[in-house]
């Protein structure tokens, strides 16, 4: 895995950790997805979506849920 992707995984997991309150993963995932949409560059979004599709093992629970939402947003935008 290249450094860039490794860093993106660390970043998204950190964002998830900082938005998790009282274990409410769904709510946190919503906030994380909004954050990614608002602040991450297209290439960063694409890389994390592709990683979640092909492996995703290093994503924590909230991050996984957030990437699903991000993917749905990406698809909706494309259509």
């Amino acid at each position: 895995m290249n450094y860039e992707l490794q860093h993106l995984i660390e970043m998204i997991n950190q964002i998830s950790d900082n938005n998790l309150h009282h274990g409410e993963a769904e709510h946190a995932a919503e906030m994380v997805a909004t954050h990614l949409i608002k602040f991450w560059a297209r290439s960063m979004k694409d890389q994390i979506i592709s990683y979640a599709e092909n492996d995703g093992s290093e994503l924590n629970q909230v991050s996984k849920l957030a990437v699903e939402r991000l993917k749905a947003w990406r698809q909706a935008k494309a259509s």
């Binding site: 290249n2 450094y3 860039e4 860093h7 993106l8 970043m11 950190q14 964002i15 950790d17 900082n18 998790l20 309150h21 954050h35 949409i37 608002k38 602040f39 991450w40 560059a41 297209r42 290439s43 960063m44 979004k45």
Partner: protein, 962 residues
């Protein structure tokens, strides 16, 4: 004729000395001076009232930035019905008073006084450096002194020796009249109390500290005494050398975020001295050692004066014409985009350049490059402020004016060191502390503000680095659970649901100071005491710096601070607020101008189609609807191979960004690095194109300071390489096929005003008229907005954010048992590119590692030893200074010198929301060593090689220009 004095009418002429400070009483007192009727605020001195009426009373010991002293007696007047000749400076006005300032008796009295002064003063006026700029000389003329009957034979001070130890000014006591203006300026204006009048009667003399040389004393070289001196006793060496300046231009300092106004005093195009401008609303005529004296870098021999290019960084530079350098850059950028795609290039705007220049760089990126890969050095300092304040208060900016601190009852300073990093504001803060305000400092280090002479109550919360959020949560916990909230404010001004959720969260026992004491290291009772002092003071004001933002939870901490202010109702009026102290001169401005990859100017998101449409209509180009890469993401992408070119204006990322070796790897991965700077900085050593930058003295524009104040920057000399920075960006845009045709920065500002809702009322005409403007300035606030959020928030209601404490992964371990934190010192500025090229280096020749005595003892370390400092990413070597300003377990250094390699050890750990690096926490080990680190050895040889390449370019004949 009755003249009413109304301060709101801006009748005060900043170039005139009114003798004593203004009084702000609303009660007016009417009196007659030399037959002229005038009405002034109660408490005003007769001297000031006279000056306001246009009448000049002779004076020597009085100055309107100092309280009246009444020692020279030259300002004696006659007052109808009163005995004797009272000093007009110490006599307050009274209703119906009739004052005479000139008559035969007064003239004789004044002549006698002057005669005594001159009997112990050298008569070398013609060769004196103050000739033509001396108040003593002026007064001798004004009182008509023609004779000194006492002779010069008796005991005198004419042989007193000059102290020339300070690099910027000399102290010649033979010229001193002991008016004590310097002593009072040091106390009242600067607040350092370094000067005193030593001795009594004839032996009285001005002394620094314990009668030491100025350089060895506590003097911080702010220049207030030099400015206050009415003779040439304290005199700038530059004036001694060059003579008295012949014209001056008011401009804005390019150092810290205070944004002081200065008069650049000139002889032709030579800058002789910078004198703080009394009309400047940020500094009111005060200055620090950087802005006042450290301007010599502008004419330093190291300035890059011609454009240069090269194909690879292991080649010498070739000096070329501007046209060739621009064409070379444009071709490379276009070729790279053709090969690697639209998103493969980007640009970095500078927080040291003007608003107009910053705006233009981000416009070049968005419109010319066709992507949003723009970022700025604020990424590594205050990006969490933008995120945190926008989320909670709805606007990415501080809420107050600097003057607001004079109404504060409790001042809470978190992770900031104002006496070193924002010295002029620190002086104002200290003035308020002397008046009795309570000070709370939350900082791992015992900062100098805690040692304010004659300060009132102060508390130090020495938290462990990395535990800010735990501390702010425990402060808020006390506020909520002890019933100290401002419920009326919360009810009226805050979102109820978010408040309810936050209140439940913060009330949980896990947020109590008792529980979190184990994390923060701050005793719970001290936290409780501090919370009460802040919440119940009346006016509680928070000031914070990079000790808040440069953490893995920087954004959370900013939100925690906003929560605290919302909960206690400390927002929306004078004396309160949330105030980020900005590091560089135009950090606020660079953020305002759309430097961040996700936001267009005015913090308008690129994802908003309505926003994009307005920009697209004016820019005639399609704007990408997704954010671009931030600086750290650019580095990662460069190493990964899909980010290939970068245009950097005025930022030294190779020195200032964390994990230097990673940055160096990223920079060497680029196919084209274009650096626009005034020197061959560390980043430029990795560049393919070097475009000469211009200093703030060489261009027109505006800077926006930490209080949102837009100040004019005015050109006083021609740019050394012929172009202001905005002109270079414009040339590059045109070469890339995106037309830009500005003929003056004022036209750029007009465009900014069209596109930025908070700037619609800003123009150069309005700035000239008002002096400065604090944004928002629009239809609603035509004269600007000194205090934000008075009635509502830009997001309607204030938003309490849940601020869970998540400990940083960067923790001390057995291998790296100490925590390194970084900071700044007074005499140096940021990467030091400017200040290292001035005499300021006399105060700080090298970066050192401060270590607590117990940690030093444990490792057998002595003061002055060479220490190897290692973290998980690198090692560097610094000299040891043993100091108890830190707690055991914490070490501290600065990064003003590139060879110190402080950022070789800082890691890529960063704020979760913004990627602002965690400079303030790095786990390290420290040990005694005998030689420089591997990185330092590499740095030295690389540095030498790059300087040779530069030298070579100077030797080569310039074919391009022939």
């Amino acid at each position: 004729m009755l003249n009413y004095f109304d301060p709101s009418q801006h009748r005060i002429d900043p170039d005139r000395d009114y003798g004593t400070p203004a009084r702000l009483s609303e009660k007016a007192v009417a009196l007659t001076i030399d037959g002229v009727e005038i009405s002034v605020p109660e408490g005003t001195s007769v001297m000031r009232a006279a000056a306001l009426a246009g009448i000049t009373v002779p004076k020597l010991c009085a100055s309107d930035n100092l309280e009246a002293f009444g020692s020279c007696r030259l300002c004696a007047v006659e007052i109808e019905g009163r005995r004797g000749y009272p000093a007009s400076c110490t006599t307050p006005v009274a209703e119906g008073m009739e004052v005479t300032t000139q008559n035969g008796k007064l003239a004789k009295l004044r002549r006698n006084i002057m005669e005594l002064y001159i009997s112990d003063h050298p008569l070398d006026c013609l060769t004196c450096p103050a000739n033509g700029d001396c108040e003593l000389q002026d007064m001798a003329g004004a009182v008509g002194l023609r004779d000194v009957r006492y002779g010069f034979e008796g005991q005198n001070h004419l042989d007193a020796e000059t102290d020339a130890s300070n690099p910027y000014f000399s102290f010649d006591p033979s010229k001193c009249i002991v008016c004590s203006r310097c002593v009072r300026a040091c106390e009242e204006v600067q607040g350092t109390f370094a000067l005193t009048i030593d001795g009594r009667g004839f032996d009285s003399k001005v002394a620094a500290s314990q009668d030491e040389d100025f350089m060895d004393s506590e003097c911080v070289s702010c220049g207030a005494c030099v400015q206050a001196c009415p003779t040439s006793t304290l005199m700038e060496k530059s004036v001694i050398e060059a003579g008295v300046p012949e014209h001056s231009v008011v401009t804005t300092c390019a150092y810290c975020g205070v944004g002081c106004s200065f008069k650049a005093e000139m002889k032709g195009d030579q800058l002789v001295r910078m004198v703080p401008y009394k009309g400047g609303d940020a500094n009111h005529g005060h200055s620090c050692v950087k802005g006042r004296f450290a301007f010599g870098y502008a004419t330093h021999k190291d300035r890059i004066t011609e454009p240069m290019i090269r194909d690879a960084i292991d080649q010498p530079w070739r000096t070329v014409s501007w046209e060739e350098a621009i064409a070379f850059s444009a071709k490379r950028l276009k070729d790279i985009q053709a090969q690697y795609g639209r998103e493969s290039i980007g640009g970095i705007t500078s927080s040291r350049c003007t608003n107009e220049e910053t705006y233009l760089v981000q416009k070049l990126v968005r419109a010319g490059f066709g992507n949003n890969n723009t970022d700025t050095c604020a990424r590594v300092c205050h990006s969490p402020t933008g995120y945190g304040l926008k989320t909670t208060l709805g606007e990415s900016a501080g809420t107050q004016t600097f003057d607001s601190v004079m109404e504060a009852d409790t001042i809470l300073v978190i992770g900031a060191n104002p006496t070193d990093a924002h010295p002029v504001f620190a002086s104002q803060m200290r003035r308020r502390l002397r008046q009795g305000a309570t000070l709370i400092v939350a900082d791992p280090r015992r900062i100098d503000l805690l040692k304010t002479p004659h300060g009132s109550t102060s508390m130090h919360l020495p938290l462990r680095p990395g535990t800010n959020v735990a501390l702010v949560n425990s402060l808020a916990h006390v506020v909520v659970t002890e019933g100290l909230e401002d419920t009326a404010f919360i009810e009226k001004r805050c979102e109820p649901d978010a408040y309810k959720a936050w209140r439940e969260f913060i009330s949980e026992e896990r947020n109590s100071p008792e529980t979190l004491e184990a994390e923060t290291g701050v005793p719970a009772d001290l936290v409780r005491k501090a919370a009460r002092a802040y919440a119940t003071a009346g006016n509680g004001a928070i000031y914070y710096g990079l000790g808040v933002t440069e953490h893995s939870q920087g954004s959370t901490m900013v939100m925690g601070i906003a929560n605290l202010a919302l909960a206690t109702g400390n927002l929306g009026r004078e004396g309160v607020g949330v105030n980020p102290l900005r590091g560089q001169n135009n950090v606020q401005g660079s953020c305002d101008m759309g430097s961040f990859p996700h936001e267009l100017p005015g913090y308008q998101h690129v994802g908003d189609p309505a926003v994009r449409e307005r920009f697209e209509n004016l820019w005639h180009v399609k704007i990408d609807d997704e954010p671009g890469l931030r600086i750290p993401n650019m580095f990662d992408a460069a190493i990964a191979g899909h980010f290939k070119a970068l245009y950097v204006q005025g930022e030294d990322i190779a020195q200032s960004d964390p994990n230097t070796q990673h940055v160096e790897q990223a920079l060497t991965s680029l196919d084209c690095l274009i650096v626009q700077d005034i020197f061959l900085n560390e980043t430029a050593k990795y560049a393919h194109v070097l475009l000469p930058g211009s200093t703030f003295l060489e261009k027109n524009g505006t800077f926006t300071n930490a209080e949102r104040r837009i100040n004019r920057v005015r050109k006083v000399m021609a740019p050394v390489a012929g172009k202001e920075d905005w002109e270079v960006t414009q040339d590059l845009a045109n070469a890339l096929g995106y037309p830009m045709n500005y003929s003056h920065p004022s036209e750029i500002m007009d465009e900014i005003a069209q596109l930025t809702p908070t700037f619609t009322g800003v123009s150069y005409e309005r700035l000239d008229e008002l002096g400065s403007i604090q944004w928002p300035c629009n239809e609603e606030h035509p004269d600007g907005t000194p205090t934000m959020h008075e009635l509502d928030f830009p997001i309607g209601k204030g938003h309490f954010a849940i601020t869970e404490y998540v400990a940083t992964p960067e923790r001390s371990t057995r291998r790296y048992p100490l925590l390194l934190t970084t900071g700044r010192i007074l005499s140096q500025y940021n990467v030091g590119a400017q200040t290292r090229r001035t005499e300021n280096s006399r105060w700080h020749e090298e970066d050192v590692l401060e270590i607590h005595p117990s940690d030093a003892e444990l490792r057998g370390i002595s003061d002055g030893d060479w220490l190897g400092v290692s973290s998980r990413v690198g090692q560097t070597v610094l000299r040891c200074r043993i100091s108890d300003r830190m707690q055991p377990g914490v070490v501290y250094t600065t990064f003003h010198h590139p060879g110190s390699g402080a950022n070789v050890i800082t890691t890529d750990s960063s704020d979760w929301a913004t990627n602002c690096p965690e400079y303030k926490v790095t786990a390290v080990q420290v040990e005694k060593v005998s030689q420089p680190s591997e990185w330092q050895k590499h740095f030295q040889s690389f540095d030498e090689q790059q300087h040779k390449y530069l030298e070579k370019s100077k030797d080569e004949p310039n074919f391009a220009l022939k």
